[in-house]
C-alpha cells in the first residue's frame, strides 16, 4: 500500500521520501512552527497533489489549522509565531524573503471557519479582491468577474437580484458560499478551507461539499475538518495530525478503511485514549 507512516518525532524515512508525489502543487519538508516557546508543529513532510482535495484531520490542537495557515503565510500576522522548514508552491519557496506575501495570498485563497463576509454589499464582497489586485479594467469586466465567481460558487441564482444588499444579510450557508466566491474571484491556484462547514447545517454543508467537488476540477483544495465523514466524502487524500506531528497521510479511502497507524485508527474509530 502506498502509505506514509511517521512515528512520532521521527525524521522523514526513506520510504516516505520515495512517497513524494510527482508534480505536487505544494510540498512541505520539515516544517516546524513555534508559538513563542511552545512548538506547535514538528517536522511536517506533506505533498499536496494538484487539483485534488486534501483533507487534514485530527483532534483539536493537533496543529492541522496551524499547518494550513503556514501554506498562505497567515501565521505571519500572529505575533511570536515562527515557521521553519521548507514549503514550496510549484517548486517556489513561499518563505523566500524576496517573495511578496500579498501576491502569495492572491495565489492561495482562504475560506474560514466562520463565514466572514465583509460588512459590504454582496457585489463589493466579490469585487474587493479583484479591485485591489487591479484585475478588472472597467465596470463591465468587474461585473463579469462577480457573476462568474458567484456562478462558480453556486450562489448566482440566489443573489443575482440583490447584489447591492449587504452580504451579512445572507443565511449562514450562503455567506460561506459568498466567502468561497470571494476567494475564487482573485483566481487562486490553491484554496485553503479551515473547517468551512462547522457552523453550517447539514443541507448547507452538503451544498458546500458538492461545490468543493466541482471546484476540484480547477483548483487545488486543502480542507481542515473535524468531521471525519466530511473528510471521507470530499477528499482524495487525507492527512492525520496528532499533537503537532503528521502521523499518517495517504489516499482517503485507505485512511478510512485501513489506517496504518494505531493513533489514526484510534482517532477515526472514536477510541482515542
Amino acid at each position: 500500500m502506498d502509505m506514509g507512516t511517521l512515528p512520532a518525532g521521527a525524521a522523514m524515512s526513506p520510504a516516505v521520501a520515495s512517497r513524494a508525489i510527482e508534480g505536487a502543487k505544494m510540498t512541505s519538508r520539515k516544517v516546524c512552527v513555534h508559538y513563542g516557546q511552545k512548538q506547535a508543529l514538528f517536522d511536517v513532510d506533506l505533498d499536496i497533489p494538484s487539483r485534488q482535495v486534501t483533507a487534514l484531520i485530527g483532534p483539536s490542537g493537533c496543529g492541522k489549522s496551524t499547518y494550513l495557515r503556514c501554506l498562505n503565510r497567515m501565521n505571519d500576522v500572529i505575533d511570536g509565531c515562527r515557521v521553519t522548514g521548507d514549503i514550496r508552491l510549484d517548486g517556489e519557496n513561499i518563505y523566500d524573503p524576496k517573495l511578496d506575501v500579498v501576491m502569495l495570498r492572491a495565489r492561495i485563497g482562504m475560506v474560514f471557519q466562520k463565514p466572514n463576509p465583509f460588512p459590504k454589499s454582496i457585489y463589493d464582497n466579490i469585487a474587493y479582491g479583484p479591485r485591489i489586485h487591479g484585475m478588472a479594467a472597467g465596470k463591465t469586466e468587474m461585473d463579469e468577474i462577480v457573476q462568474l465567481s458567484l456562478e462558480r460558487a453556486g450562489l448566482w441564482n440566489e443573489v443575482k437580484d440583490r447584489l447591492a444588499q449587504p452580504g451579512t444579510g445572507l443565511s449562514g450557508g450562503q455567506q460561506q458560499r459568498l466567502c468561497i466566491a470571494r476567494a475564487i474571484a482573485v483566481s487562486p491556484e490553491v484554496i485553503l478551507m479551515d473547517e468551512p462547514c462547522s457552523a453550517l447545517d447539514p443541507i448547507a454543508t452538503a451544498k458546500i461539499e458538492e461545490l468543493m467537488d466541482e471546484l476540484r476540477e480547477n483548483y487545488t483544495i486543502i480542507i481542515v475538518t473535524h468531521s471525519m465523514q466530511q473528510a471521507a466524502r470530499v477528499s482524495q487524500k487525507t492527512a492525520f495530525f496528532h499533537l503537532g506531528y503528521l502521523v499518517e497521510w495517504g489516499d482517503t479511502e485507505q485512511i478510512f478503511t485501513s489506517p496504518r497507524d494505531e493513533r489514526t485508527q484510534g482517532y477515526i474509530t472514536g477510541r482515542f485514549g
Partner: protein
C-alpha cells in the same frame, strides 16, 4: 495488536460490536455441529438425526438475519470507520459464508436420508475424514476471528488444500466404483455430491479466513488461493 486496542469512547458501540462477534461465534458453533451431525447421520445411517439437522438449519438462517439487521443498524447509527467498518462488513460476509456452510450441512443430511435407503458402501469411510478436516479448518478460522489473529487464519487457510486433495481422491475412488458396477452410480453420485459439499464448505471456511485477514490487516491475502481441486480440469475440459 488490534484486540488490545482501547475501548471506544462511546461504550454502547463496543457492546454492539461484541454482540456482533458473539452472534458470529454462535453461528459458527451451530454450523460446526450441523456438519458434524450430518456426517454422523450419514455414517450411522440415522435418518432421524439427519432430519433433525435439516430442521435445525433454520436456526443458522435466523442468526444470519439477525446479523443483517444488527449491521445495518450499526452502519446507520454509528457510521463505523476503519477497523470498526471492516468488522461490520466482515460480520456480514462471514455470516453469509457460515449460512452457506449450514446449507451444505443440510444438503449432506438430506442426502444421508436418501443414502440410508441403499446398501452401505465402502467409500463412506473417507467422508468423515474429510469432514473432520473441514471442521478443524472451520474451528481454527472461527477462533482466529474471535482472537482477531490473522496468522492463525492464514494457517487454516493453507490447509484447505488438503481438503481439496481429499476430494480429488474421493472423486477418483467414486469413478472406479461407478465403473465397476453401474448400480453403484446412484449412491455414488450422492456421495460424490456430499464430498463436493464438504469441499465447498472448506472453500467457505477459507473465505472466512480471508475475511479475517482483511479484518485484521485492512488488505486482502495477497497470495493466490491454494487450489488443490484439479477435478475441474478433466470434467470441464
Amino acid at each position: 495488536m488490534l484486540n488490545k486496542q482501547a475501548d471506544h469512547i462511546v461504550k454502547s458501540f463496543d457492546e454492539e460490536l461484541k454482540q456482533l462477534n458473539n452472534i458470529i461465534a454462535e453461528m459458527g458453533g451451530l454450523a460446526e455441529a450441523q456438519l458434524d451431525r450430518a456426517v454422523e447421520s450419514l455414517v450411522r445411517r440415522n435418518s432421524d438425526l439427519a432430519a433433525q439437522v435439516v430442521n435445525d438449519d433454520k436456526r443458522i438462517d435466523n442468526l444470519e438475519t439477525e446479523i443483517g439487521s444488527l449491521t445495518v443498524r450499526l452502519l446507520a447509527l454509528r457510521q463505523p470507520m476503519a477497523q470498526d467498518l471492516r468488522e461490520v462488513v466482515a460480520a456480514i460476509k462471514i455470516a453469509s459464508d457460515i449460512e452457506r456452510i449450514g446449507d451444505y450441512a443440510k444438503n449432506i443430511a438430506k442426502r444421508a436420508i436418501v443414502l440410508s435407503g441403499f446398501a452401505p458402501m465402502k467409500p463412506v469411510a473417507t467422508i468423515p475424514r474429510m469432514s473432520r478436516l473441514a471442521l478443524t479448518i472451520i474451528k481454527d478460522v472461527l477462533d482466529a476471528y474471535i482472537a482477531k489473529d490473522a496468522e492463525a487464519a492464514r494457517a487454516a487457510w493453507r490447509r484447505d488444500e488438503e481438503v481439496d486433495e481429499m476430494y480429488n481422491s474421493v472423486f477418483r475412488e467414486m469413478l472406479t466404483y461407478m465403473m465397476e458396477d453401474p448400480r453403484n452410480i446412484g449412491p455414488c453420485t450422492h456421495l460424490l455430491f456430499i464430498a463436493k459439499n464438504i469441499e465447498r464448505i472448506g472453500d467457505h471456511a477459507t473465505n472466512v479466513a480471508e475475511i479475517v485477514y482483511y479484518l485484521v490487516h485492512g488488505r486482502s491475502l495477497d497470495e493466490a488461493r491454494p487450489k488443490g481441486d484439479t477435478t475441474n480440469v478433466p470434467i470441464d475440459g
